[in-house]
Symmetry: C2
Subunit: 418 residues, 2 copies
């Protein structure tokens, strides 16, 4: 079964908004075995929208449209849907009641614009919006499905996951092929090295497919198989995954929606260990990522963002002379920071990062991108040098990833230097 995703909005075309909606929808549709034939983005322009509706509805089983449903003047999607399906708008009183309750709770005045949100094309079944005022629409015609949702990501994702996906599964269950995909997440190893360590792909994969997706966080490997049935596909996937793990398992920190912060969080929780972090160059990013995980308060005690040297001396009890002697960005200071934060916080593990993120701050011997990460527990206290690039934000992201990976390896007893 084929699906196309259409995103409406000048703001995506001109690059001021990322198309997170298309990604989200593509991911979820792939997860229930739809093949995404195309993603297209068109502007807030009636002609372009109608042409895209036509082409997409002719060539796919399902079309998913987002954007242009808001209360302001440049939101013309509902009008285009009405034209395309030769139908008209009518007031939906269930939706109206919800819209009014929602706006009242937020202290927004009831106006004609607010009430207008509850007008729905006759042909459509409205989809409730629990996080905003614009309802979605489910339209069936000629055995195909046309879905329209608002563009605000958290409104769309809620209605897509809770309503659209179950309904699509139900409607198309007999036609969906048995395809399975998994993502193996690696970090700390370049794409080409990973590729070469795996050896000849045919031997490894059989008729499976493998794609390499590099980013500043590492290389994802996307593995896809087709099977005769659910069980067959599942077993094939597992078999190939085992063969891949046998070759590069130590670099794989997780699968699919795993995050490195989630993986280390589980490891810390399972072992009843506590963590404190001292950050200089990352300025809070490591702690931010750790605390993105719900329940992190059970293992994360505190972080000290010691941006100034004074804060390093005062909060981490590092000897000022040693900072003077080695420099704040050095293996010695990284180790002292990790040791210091562990001791003052009374945690099992201390993790620390210091580096030069750029664009300024380089010295003749210390270039932008130089980073030292320290980690200490009750047995070892060590640090490792990294050399990243010259982009400040990428450097912060890479440093946070490398620090969390050092923590993962510490927890699993994998050496840092391979």
């Amino acid at each position: 079964m084929k699906a196309q995703i259409i995103t409406i909005g000048d703001e995506i075309l001109i690059g001021k908004t990322l198309n997170t909606n298309a990604s989200f929808i593509g991911d979820k549709l792939t997860g229930i075995d739809f093949e995404i034939s195309k993603i297209s983005v068109v502007g807030d322009d009636e002609k372009s929208i109608l042409r895209e509706f036509e082409d997409a509805f002719a060539n796919n089983d399902v079309v998913v449209v987002t954007g242009g449903l808001g209360p302001t003047h440049d939101d013309i999607t509902k009008k285009c849907v009405t034209t395309f399906f030769k139908t008209e708008l009518e007031m939906n009183h269930d939706i109206l009641a919800e819209v009014l309750e929602f706006t009242k709770k937020r202290g927004v005045k009831e106006t004609e614009k607010v009430r207008g949100q509850a007008m729905v094309p006759k042909i459509a079944e409205p989809i409730k919006n629990t996080k905003g005022t614009a309802p979605g629409m489910w339209i069936e015609k000629d055995g195909k499905v046309f879905i329209v949702m608002p563009g605000v990501p958290y409104e769309m994702s809620e209605m897509f996951e809770k309503y659209v996906i179950p309904k699509l599964k139900e409607k198309f269950k007999s036609s969906l092929v048995t395809k399975k995909t998994t993502h193996l997440l690696t970090t700390g190893i370049p794409e080409v090295v990973l590729y070469e360590k795996l050896g000849p792909l045919e031997d490894l994969l059989g008729d499976g497919k493998l794609a390499f997706l590099p980013s500043q966080y590492g290389v994802k490997m996307r593995l896809t198989v087709q099977g005769e049935n659910e069980e067959d596909a599942h077993n094939k996937l597992l078999e190939i995954e085992q063969r891949i793990r046998a070759k590069v398992g130590r670099y794989i920190y997780g699968k699919d929606d795993d995050t490195l912060e989630g993986v280390v969080g589980r490891l810390l929780k399972d072992r009843g260990l506590t963590l404190a972090v001292a950050e200089s160059c990352t300025g809070g990013l490591i702690s931010h990522r750790i605390t993105n995980i719900s329940g992190s308060s059970s293992y994360f005690e505190r972080a000290l963002i010691t941006y100034s040297n004074g804060a390093k001396v005062e909060l981490l009890n590092i000897d000022e002379d040693l900072i003077e002697q080695y420099g704040a960005v050095s293996m010695e200071v990284a180790r002292l920071m990790a040791d210091g934060v562990r001791k003052v916080s009374g945690t099992d593990i201390g993790l620390a990062a210091t580096g030069i993120m750029g664009p300024t701050g380089a010295t003749p011997t210390k270039p932008v991108g130089l980073v030292h990460i320290g980690i200490c527990d009750d047995k070892v206290c060590t640090s490792k040098e990294f050399r990243f690039g010259d982009d400040r934000i990428l450097n912060k992201e890479r440093t946070s990833q490398a620090a969390l990976e050092m923590l993962r390896r510490n927890l699993l007893g994998i050496p840092y230097d391979e």
Copy 2:
């Protein structure tokens, strides 16, 4: 002049990678007055790619393609370009020398795959890649331009900004119309309230256009005008902007590529003030954002991520009984955190956030989404309550934005409660 952006890669279709490249390119092309007619995403499949090349090259002046140029087996873009332009690949020795130097520096072995990166279609002028091994391509035919770049974002962005944009400006300078766009960035005010405060848009805009782009960080207003020439467009834009500012200026924290963290950073720097932050619920995100700004070390002294109550007592000198009495998430504790971090750090300003980010942690009187933000300087010490939603990550992002906005208002003397 019209441009289409084509992104190649299954990883975008299936939603595992965000199409940041299309956004980046759309933004930059709009900035030099190109109209983006469409963004399309197609898979790693020769037929789909060639069909999209054909359609895009027939209907646009410029086509920009990214993705599928890597060293692995699923990268087929170069082959498709060669087929589409009926040309062949040849070894480019300048590029080869760079590829080999680059891989040597990274400690990657020279292999056939590595050398293959330097093969370029005869019709193309290669574009150097200073951050990776796959060169880009600039192809001219029939007065049109066809550009191909690697999909790795930081490789693409570097070559697009430094090489492609200047070259496009030069080539098309006589045909580009005089259009100007600016984005006014607001926060702390809902879209519909902003819309109503502006009053009738025709009076405000004349023939200008205004779009509202809401997100968890606030509402962006995109203002676009066309003028007879550069100066005319510039003046029109300024005039309308002034009228908008007269109505909703206090909610506008910046323009275009401004960030709230950059704006408060400039204010702090200009006034020679220093800042310390105490974070509980945001777990480091506020400090991370502040330190994304190069030069932040001149005003940002430290942050204390006091995730546990023990850390609040110990590091911020907050009376344990008061935490017991009011709860860690309360206006009193937010104020004590801001006051505490200011005093222990010796800075001019202390900023603090405490809240319940969810999904767990709610109590009968304190729901998920409840946040208190405190701010103290040498004159005032206050806190404000916010009620956000039920998504942990969105709540962290909203809290960080609200905290930085309170800091901005404090620095500018704008009241918090309007």
